[in-house]
Point group: C2
Chain length 489, copies 2
Amino acid sequence: MNNNLFVYNTLSRSKERFVPIHLNHAGMYVCGPTVYGDAHLGHARPAITFDLVFRYLLYLGYKVRYVRNITDVGHLENDADEGEDKIAKKARLEELEPMEVVQYFTDRYHDNIDRLNVKKPSIEPRASGHMIEQINMIREIFDAGFAYESNGSVYFDVEKYNKTNHYGILSGRVLEDLLSNTRDLESQDEKRNSFDFALWKKAQPEHIMRWPSPWSDGFPGWHLECSAMSSKYLGEQFDIHGGGMDLLFPHHESEIAQSTVCFHKAPARYWMHNNMITINGQKMGKSLGNFITLDELFAGTHHALEQAYSPMTIRFFILQAHYRSPLDFGNEALQAAEKGFNKLMKAMETLEKLVPGADSTSDIATLEAKCYEAMNDDFNSPIVIANLFEGVRIINSVYDKKESLTGADLEKLKALFKSFIIDILGLLPETDPTAGIQLVDDLMQVILEIRKNARTNKDWATSDKIRDELARVKISVKDTKDGASWSIE
Amino acid sequence: MNNNLFVYNTLSRSKERFVPIHLNHAGMYVCGPTVYGDAHLGHARPAITFDLVFRYLLYLGYKVRYVRNITDVGHLENDADEGEDKIAKKARLEELEPMEVVQYFTDRYHDNIDRLNVKKPSIEPRASGHMIEQINMIREIFDAGFAYESNGSVYFDVEKYNKTNHYGILSGRVLEDLLSNTRDLESQDEKRNSFDFALWKKAQPEHIMRWPSPWSDGFPGWHLECSAMSSKYLGEQFDIHGGGMDLLFPHHESEIAQSTVCFHKAPARYWMHNNMITINGQKMGKSLGNFITLDELFAGTHHALEQAYSPMTIRFFILQAHYRSPLDFGNEALQAAEKGFNKLMKAMETLEKLVPGADSTSDIATLEAKCYEAMNDDFNSPIVIANLFEGVRIINSVYDKKESLTGADLEKLKALFKSFIIDILGLLPETDPTAGIQLVDDLMQVILEIRKNARTNKDWATSDKIRDELARVKISVKDTKDGASWSIE
């Protein structure tokens, strides 16, 4: 087992050697989508980032349990939001059962993410499917004295928690600063402090998504589901917790508080956060109205798009940036990614055609070492890709007979490309199912043109030869008054 | 809205006009898979049968809510089985978390069923996600006096229920007969009568799938989940309940008993049951060891298979029999289905090429009426297919100029084929993504052969023409010592 993997831990703000809790096993929890709308570019990034982590851990030989949840209980958008249940809202608008909306968008999310060649997680639990676990966790927090009930809702007492713990350990926020800024609560608020977060919300009469609880018919607060499901499937403490940077505060900070109260330890050892995708420097998001759905990207149907971008182009585009760097969206960048991806795929084809030489003019072993080095350095995919392009250069030079590789080095390069491109980066050659059909049509036009030519020149031998050769591949040609037509037998 | 649809109701043992509870809406619940193994031919039949029902109801304009559950809590295989939790057993064997096994087989089930072009249901709830609902239902049955606790487990008191209700209303079984046969219970049994069924089972120490309840840490009985989830998403009474004939007793019979106690009415108005698939007359099943998985069918890798059978061949094979008839599996039958399906698809292509005539020699309106008539007669897909083949005969005759159709009739026939083949039967042309590529290769060999010929004959004009024409479609030819090779630019 490779023990040179270093992971940037948001908790310590430094790269740390990855040492799993259980030898050869890795447990990873990543915050998944809230399924009340279509997945957009902003969803693709965490999915692909943690797919890269999942794939590399598997590649290194770890037995990985990767849990990525589905948030199907409408959650509080932010703590200032007074409990508006988004999914229920959408369902009421559409006069649908909320779970029907949830199913619809979950299925669409899966379709989109599958096309991006994101491996399915080991377990994909749903918040709505873990009510008992969430209610039990609230009970424990209550019994420990860190929760209070107000009007049928239950809140986590952040100020009390912070007296013996550090609320802000992950995000670096200082509660005292928050306290002084937000002390004046509006009178109707149920919370003692504005930064207290809901563990349970009493459902308003119009709320159609609700479950019974000791406090009220209602629904759990959003931060709770991840604590309940990660501990259920990965244990009270596990290796990696991932998610987008936007979830760092208050979501992950609150997860830590909840788990610390219940289990007396931090839930995860390594906290990983992918950076955001921006559009012209602006954050992408539903509320900003500038988000492009993955379907629109794949089909090229959004007004900001100059063309359609294939799933592999998007995957390559995302992997070309390190996951902790911001990534700005633009047609130019995506078109460059498309070119780069095609170049890489073409080189993989060329690689298969290379013939071994007597000696090697390039050092493949060093190239391989650099690829591992980059992955071990906090999953540095852009450096891996840069090294693979050095491989592309070598491949093309060998093909053009400007360089040469021994048989052993050729095999090493093939293995390297397969491992890093297919297995680790998860990039696959894209076959356009209509491309072959279009080309068949084109080639038949070529053949019929030559046949017409031959017949015009009364070159019956060629014309007959064409007919016989086509018959051999089961294509028949029929002459009509509108010209020749062909069909497959 | 078509109100001529007749559905065979297992409850009344007769065909009844379909009258939905809510105008223009249809609610349907179908028992889905238990996800502890790969889907086989026996899973394909209910999936396709109720997909046909779903599609036809949608086609008729109903707003359909179709709920098909995932049984992810290991259930009692039969009531003689003393509570062995199958999923937990598999998980222990593989040293996996049960939900990891569940996720794995759920994902594989979806992949298989998607390939069969089965539409996703509106809601696909999981048994494990509805513990609160199930526990509440047990409480109600308890409070009504129809359940008893024994050793931490809870059983439904069938004998008591039968005094005021009819346990056997669906299956036609007579409890008195059962009583006299099974009165002598083994002493260690927790049940008062052998036909009593579990509502809640106390988990044995080795059971890793368990939830807290007022009676014990344990898991719900299998019959309960369908009652809890169907009532949650479709209401206390809904239109159609479907499933395989093997689920009729005791599963559906017990569902009726549970719902009758809780809601004082029968859960569903129409009970539909598909017949079984047999292999050489024998029931197919995991326990018999003669089941062929869908993956094996698609790939042709089971020893009983002479070839691979495509998803559409299997779908067509299943639709060629009425859902209430038994269907015997065999290579010959599947090969005949493959031929039939291909003939139908080819006719759809030919249909597009037909030119309108001055009059019609066939009566398309009658053909259309016959298709509707067949679907309205309890979803009689084999009769629909027979009528479509009359359409195929007409298409081929018109193509061969032996018959003719007016433009209006041609359009009617096109609409009929599209509606019934694509929308209702859910059959799609299958495109083999490698077929185009193979043909491109074949055609290039044809072209290179002609080119070689021309060059041998010093026919430079033809040889140049070929080069120019290929360049036009962006193919370049390179002459090497091993002959000509080509590549796409």
